[in-house]
């Protein structure tokens, strides 16, 4: 067991070491300072600006930034939807796949557009290489870059800067952050045995003499951006559990770190923007503490195994159902918490098979959305929670609450509330509708408390733009495709609009100088209070669902029924 925890500790130490370097690199990129990549990339960017005619020196207001995101995303969405629907007649369709159903194509488009990558299909048997690379691979970059741009614009507004220009931020995110790192990462994966080819499936004869068709494709290049950009949509149906996506513990380590690196680094980036790395580290450690707690809960749950199975085996055995033996309980549990925390959504084991503590922790991550959180947006949500804590507790020091010297008033609370509200609305309401008609709509494979978890997980994953699933669910139906699409769109764009308007609002406020009467937000005390507010708000909203899902299931298992 201790060896297992040592593996977790080693992984996280690497993450902690990377954070300040990557964080300051991201800050340098978006503050327009010199970086070592400038000689190569600046001319390339200039070429793109000239080609596209982007007026890259013009800053945008909150609404302009929002409109730029919405229009560009709409355009990309239509483009991808058309290619998916026409994949049967387009080239690079080696396996002769026909177009998916309209609702599946719609769900897939929206899901990849929103950086969610929730998949109601198996990639290798549904999508052609063209669809995989040109559509999904393309969206993996742009959706991650969109999230990053929003996060940066939000941080800019919060720290009193103009929001910047969306198209410039989008291009910079890709050319200076996502693409260079992916290039290095994909090469590493290639070296470690992940295939990358445009050739069709390999056909071999097995030892038993049967003919086996082995799916392959441009996996390595697809794989790394899937992890780095918090996308999570696997090339293969079983995602990173597939030996071609994630062949060995070393690739597993690289892929785990790829998931967590940008969301963790962005907190540090904020510290540089705000000129307050102390606060950045405090927030980092706050998130880290909750994260470690959840990793601990699920890892111990998996280690202790299923009591019912243990009775049969006559001794305690880790739960290995739905896991790859090459990763074991440790790496699967760690991966599960990282992937749900960072809104990546890639899986290296089946979350449906996690023990109730694991189910609880993964769901809790999806509910809170800030245990690192999605690319860019997660960090922004963290500050929304900070603003809410400042408001509630800040009143208690006898002043109008201020955050970074800017007063938190009605408009800020309204916008922060929209973000707080949209999550329960889009998770709980469709879950309730689905569960009201379990036979007609749900497609639950495992009735009882676990069924509740399956349904709620699907919507929570969609709304939080995570993309992983309790995969027992039969989810390629009209109802699931459409209702999940609503959660995907609402969970992505409504908070983005609110975030950008909030940032714009904060930017336009006259800063108030700090005195001893000002509540400092970069103290251990305030950070602890924030952690309390986050947990209480999260728990209060989702406690009934957690109680009737994983908690009830846990009690049931413990009783041995």
């Amino acid at each position: 067991m201790w060896q297992g925890f040592l593996q977790i500790a080693l992984t996280l130490i690497i993450v902690i070491i990377i954070t300040p370097f990557l964080g300051s690199y991201i800050a340098r990129v978006f503050l327009g300072k010199k970086t070592f990549l400038d000689p190569i990339i600046t001319p390339a960017e200039q070429f793109i600006y000239n080609l596209s005619g982007i007026r890259h020196k013009e800053d945008m207001t909150g609404w302009q930034y929002t409109r730029a995101i919405l229009y560009s995303n709409l355009f990309m969405g239509i483009f991808v939807y058309l290619i998916l629907m026409l994949q049967g007649v387009l080239p690079l369709n080696i396996t002769n796949l026909s177009a998916p159903s309209w609702d599946l194509a719609l769900h897939t488009t929206i899901s990849f557009l929103t950086n969610t990558d929730q998949q109601h299909y198996s990639g290798e048997t549904t999508l052609s290489y063209l669809s995989q690379t040109v559509c999904l691979g393309f969206l993996m970059f742009t959706s991650a870059a969109t999230g990053l741009a929003v996060g940066i614009a939000f941080i800019r507004g919060l720290t009193g800067r103009t929001l910047g220009n969306f198209f410039v931020d989008l291009i910079k995110s890709i050319t200076r952050i996502l693409l260079p790192i992916s290039l290095v990462g994909a090469l590493l994966l290639l070296i470690l045995g992940v295939p990358d080819t445009l050739a069709g499936p390999a056909t071999t004869t097995t030892l038993e003499g049967n003919i086996q068709v082995i799916a392959r494709g441009p996996v390595a290049s697809f794989e790394f951006i899937k992890q780095l950009g918090e996308n999570g949509g696997g090339f293969f149906g079983i995602n990173s559990a597939h030996p071609f996506e994630n062949p060995n513990p070393l690739t597993n380590l690289i892929e785990t770190i790829a998931m967590i690196s940008i969301p963790a680094a962005l907190i540090y980036t904020y510290g540089i923007f705000a000129n307050n790395t102390k606060q950045a580290w405090l927030l980092f450690w706050m998130v880290f503490a909750i994260f470690i707690l959840l990793v601990g809960i699920s890892a111990i749950g998996e280690y202790q195994g299923n009591p019912l199975v243990n009775t049969l085996l006559g001794g305690q055995q880790p739960n290995l159902e739905g896991k790859e033996v090459r990763f074991g309980w440790v790496e699967t549990a760690l991966w599960a918490i990282v992937t749900t925390g960072t809104m990546c959504g890639a899986v290296n084991g089946m979350h449906d098979s996690l023990m109730p503590p694991g189910g609880f922790s993964t769901l809790f991550n999806l509910f809170l959305q800030i245990i690192w959180g999605g690319q860019g947006t997660g960090t922004a949500y963290l500050f929304v929670f900070l603003i809410l804590s400042v408001f509630v507790t800040g009143l208690m020091v006898g002043r109008t609450p201020e955050f970074l010297g800017r007063k938190i008033e009605k408009r800020e609370i309204v916008l922060a509330s929209v973000i707080l509200l949209i999550h329960p609305i889009l998770v709980l309401i469709p879950s309730a509708i689905t569960l009201a008609f379990p036979d007609a709509l749900a497609g639950i494979s495992n009735p009882g408390f676990h069924g509740i978890s399956q349904v709620v997980y699907e919507y929570a994953s969609a709304t939080a733009n995570n993309g992983s699933g309790f995969e027992g669910l039969g989810d390629n139906t009209l109802w699931w495709n459409l209702s999940a699409s609503v959660s995907l769109l609402g969970g992505r764009y409504i908070p983005i609009i609110a975030l950008l308007l909030l940032a714009d609002n904060m930017k336009n406020k006259q800063p108030v100088p700090e005195t001893t009467g000002t509540l400092r937000t970069d103290t251990v005390l305030f950070t602890s209070v924030t952690a309390g507010v986050i947990l209480i708000l999260g728990v209060l909203t989702f406690f009934p669902i957690l109680a009737l899902g994983p908690i009830a299931e846990g009690f049931q298992l413990a009783k041995g029924i």
Partner: protein, 78 residues
């Protein structure tokens, strides 16, 4: 037989003059659609009157939620 625009006009005037009673009337009308749906969905496990009551309760909850949204976005009015 009144034509549609006139009907809407009338509803509008009534809504402004007697908001409470008009809302209750509208709710009852909407429930004409909702209640049978509830009854059907329950698969005969509940009585018609209960279905009617549940429909109204659902509408009331929905109305309350709208009211709260109004408070959230226009708190000055309260």
């Amino acid at each position: 037989m009144m034509n549609l625009p006139a009907l809407i006009e009338l509803a509008h005037i009534q809504l402004r003059r007697r908001p409470w009673s008009s809302l209750i009337f509208l709710g009852m009308c909407l429930n004409l659609i909702i209640a049978p749906a509830v009854y059907g969905a329950a698969g005969g496990e509940i009585e018609r009157s209960s279905a009617w009551a549940i429909g109204l309760l659902g509408l009331l909850t929905f109305g309350l939620s709208i009211y709260l949204f109004v408070v959230i976005f226009q708190p000055e009015r309260f």
